[in-house]
């Protein structure tokens, strides 16, 4: 499936709407190592099948977007990647989810260890009611880092990566609750980056923010892409075209008999292909219905 969707570089004329000067064509010449491999994954809450038969591969150092109408399961799938669904009583995952070759759901795998490698940024910024410094230092501290000098270094580096350092460097002891929405979300990103994860999952990180704050976060995603693998759920298609390399389009399957709605992966390919040349009619309906 993946080889069919490999983009041929340079020949394709790009419609004006998709031009994005920040994306470097040369860097995107194929796929890196697979980071996540999902095969026939279905997710249940109790007996309710929330998502059915999802198979896709997420590649290293790319930004992958999950898009689709509400209720299509994109957040559910995202949370499966770092085992956050474990926190919901009755949640169950069928099928295989592999992370760099190792099964995420094998018995004996520690969800805590999983989450140290696969971080998550949430829809509504959730800074801890602690100081800015303590928010960012939280992750390293629970991993055992005690030395103040190391922690100072980590806090500064993470806040730089999250493009927040200049704004807060003089008030690291102020409460994290006192920041604006956009700043608080960048603080949460800094907090996530402080543990140096392998992957950063983002669940609609900008939906609670204004356009300027959104722009700052999209810029920072591009900055950190070379060091992390990012998967972002977004309901904003423009955002998907601005930031992502690959896009997965989910939709809702309605079962008339039992009147239930189940999420399903409709199409997955490079962002350019999904938006310019969608193969499935549902994809086409979704992306054209909102664009232009």
């Amino acid at each position: 499936m993946d080889s069919e969707q490999n983009v041929v570089k340079a020949e394709l004329p790009k419609p004006a709407a998709l031009q994005d000067t920040q994306r470097s064509e040369a860097a995107f010449s194929g796929e890196g190592a697979p980071v996540f491999d999902a095969k026939n994954v279905s997710i249940f809450y109790g007996s309710f099948r929330a998502v059915t038969d999802v198979s896709l591969t997420i590649y290293e150092n790319e930004i992958t977007a999950f898009i689709g109408p509400s209720g299509c399961g994109k957040t559910t799938v995202l949370r499966t990647l770092n085992r956050m669904n474990d926190l919901v009583p009755g949640a169950r995952v069928d099928g295989a989810v592999d992370y760099r070759g190792a099964s995420l759901y094998a018995p004996g795998v520690s969800a805590t260890a999983v989450r140290r490698r696969i971080g998550m940024v949430f829809q509504k910024p959730n800074p801890f009611p602690k100081s800015i410094y303590d928010n960012v230092a939280y992750g390293p501290r629970i991993n055992g880092e005690r030395k103040k000098s190391r922690l100072d270094e980590i806090v500064e580096r993470s806040l730089h990566q999250a493009a927040l350092w200049d704004e807060v460097k003089n008030r690291l002891n102020a409460s994290g609750l006192g920041l604006s929405g956009g700043q608080a979300q960048r603080l949460c990103i800094a907090r996530t980056l402080a543990v140096e994860p392998d992957v950063v999952l983002m669940d609609e990180p900008c939906s609670a923010l204004d356009p300027i704050a959104t722009g700052k976060i999209e810029d920072l995603m591009h900055e950190i892409k070379s060091r992390y693998t990012i998967v972002i759920v977004t309901h904003n298609m423009q955002q998907a075209t601005r930031v992502s390399d690959r896009t997965a389009f989910y939709s809702v399957l309605r079962d008339e008999k039992s009147d239930t709605r189940t999420g399903v992966l409709v199409e997955y390919g490079t962002t350019q292909q999904i938006f310019e040349d969608p193969h499935d009619t549902r994809t086409q309906a979704y992306v054209t219905g909102r664009m232009g």
Binding site: E60, N61, Y99, R100, G101, A102, S103, L104, A106, G108, V109, S110, T112, A113, V114, R116, R117, P140, N143, G144, E145, V195, E196, P197, D198, R227, Y228
Partner: protein, 326 residues
């Protein structure tokens, strides 16, 4: 490519071993510790039942069902406790009759009548009632309140003497300490809890029901009767039962103002006794079966209040659940 976190730098990212870990010891012991503390509640309740019954066993075996007779004479080794059960019941009933209308009135005042900013100070005042310790109520009760009440009792008693029902009920007082005084003080003490619980219950009535009544042109009282009361009556009954439990168990204030007389008299201005106050007053000098008897009264008190509290909480929870889903 980001570095693996500091915890295990040597393990390559791809191997499964890096992800495996047994649940760390600290996490599991914390869970067990928390569980233990939760179970402590149940353990203590069971222990209370067992140890106090043990201490009271000689009374139960000596008297058997005679404990329910009105025959309390430690000197002659007789320990029928009906007088105390009667006293407990009477003082609790008086307290409820006085406190419940007042508490519900305040609860309604807070939820339906006063604007938001006045509610806080009113609640503070009611909470202040609860802050006054039982012994201070008793001190004030016996040294100040009771002598003053004695005058009032005397007037009432002479006023109703000869009147069919009221006359025997309100006879001449010996002094201010009596069942009725104890009932009044208990009413002061249980008002905060009945008020606050009633208020919680009444506040859960959906605003939409109240607005519906008003929209039909109802006056405030009609709205309360039609929209608020049906919703909250279950919960308020539960609140009243909790007040009852509290009234039965209050010891020190009652011990000081009830008059300490282990006899049943039908008139309310006479001195009397109830279960907790006789235990408090006589435990010091009691030995043997006498002490076991007092302990046994404690066991009875425990059983009664547990039953009342369980029923009350059950009723409150059930009415809350019913209306949450509505």
């Amino acid at each position: 490519m980001s570095a693996v976190t500091q915890v295990d730098p040597a393990i390559p990212a791809g191997s499964t071993r890096a992800l495996e870990a047994r649940r760390p010891l600290g996490d599991r012991s914390f869970h067990i510790l928390a569980l233990g503390c939760g179970l402590l509640v149940l353990v203590i309740l069971v222990l209370i039942a067992i140890t106090t019954s043990q201490q009271a066993s000689s009374w139960f075996s000596a008297e058997g069902f005679k404990i329910f007779t009105n025959n309390w004479n430690p000197g002659a080794n007789q320990f029928g406790a009906l007088a105390f059960l009667y006293g407990t019941a009477i003082t609790a009933v008086i307290a409820l009759i006085l406190a419940v209308p007042v508490s519900i009135g305040i609860a309604l005042l807070l939820t339906e009548v006063v604007p938001r900013q006045w509610a806080r100070p009113i609640v503070y005042v009611v909470d202040l009632l609860a802050v006054v310790p039982s012994v201070v109520w008793g001190l004030w009760g016996i040294l100040v309140f009771a002598p003053w009440l004695q005058h009032i009792y005397t007037h009432i008693a002479s006023g109703v003497s000869g009147v069919p029902v009221l006359g025997p009920l309100f006879g001449q007082p010996v002094d201010g300490a009596s069942y009725f005084t104890a009932g009044i003080i208990l009413a002061f003490m249980i008002t905060p809890i009945v008020t606050s619980l009633s208020r919680e219950v009444i506040a859960t009535v959906p605003a939409i029901d109240k607005e519906g009544a008003y929209a039909l042109g109802a006056t405030r009282w009609e709205m309360i009767r039609g929209a608020v009361w049906p919703h909250s009556q279950g919960g308020v009954v539960g609140a009243v039962m909790l007040g009852l439990g509290r009234a039965m168990g209050e010891t020190i204030a009652v011990a000081l103002v009830i008059g300490s007389s282990p006899e049943i008299t039908s008139h309310l201005f006479a001195p009397g006794y109830n279960m907790p106050s006789v235990i408090a007053n006589q435990f010091g000098e009691a030995t043997g079966v006498f002490r076991a008897g007092l302990m046994g009264l404690g066991v009875l008190l425990f059983v009664f209040t547990i039953i009342i509290n369980m029923a009350a909480r059950g009723i409150v929870e059930r009415s809350a659940r019913r209306h949450r889903g509505a």
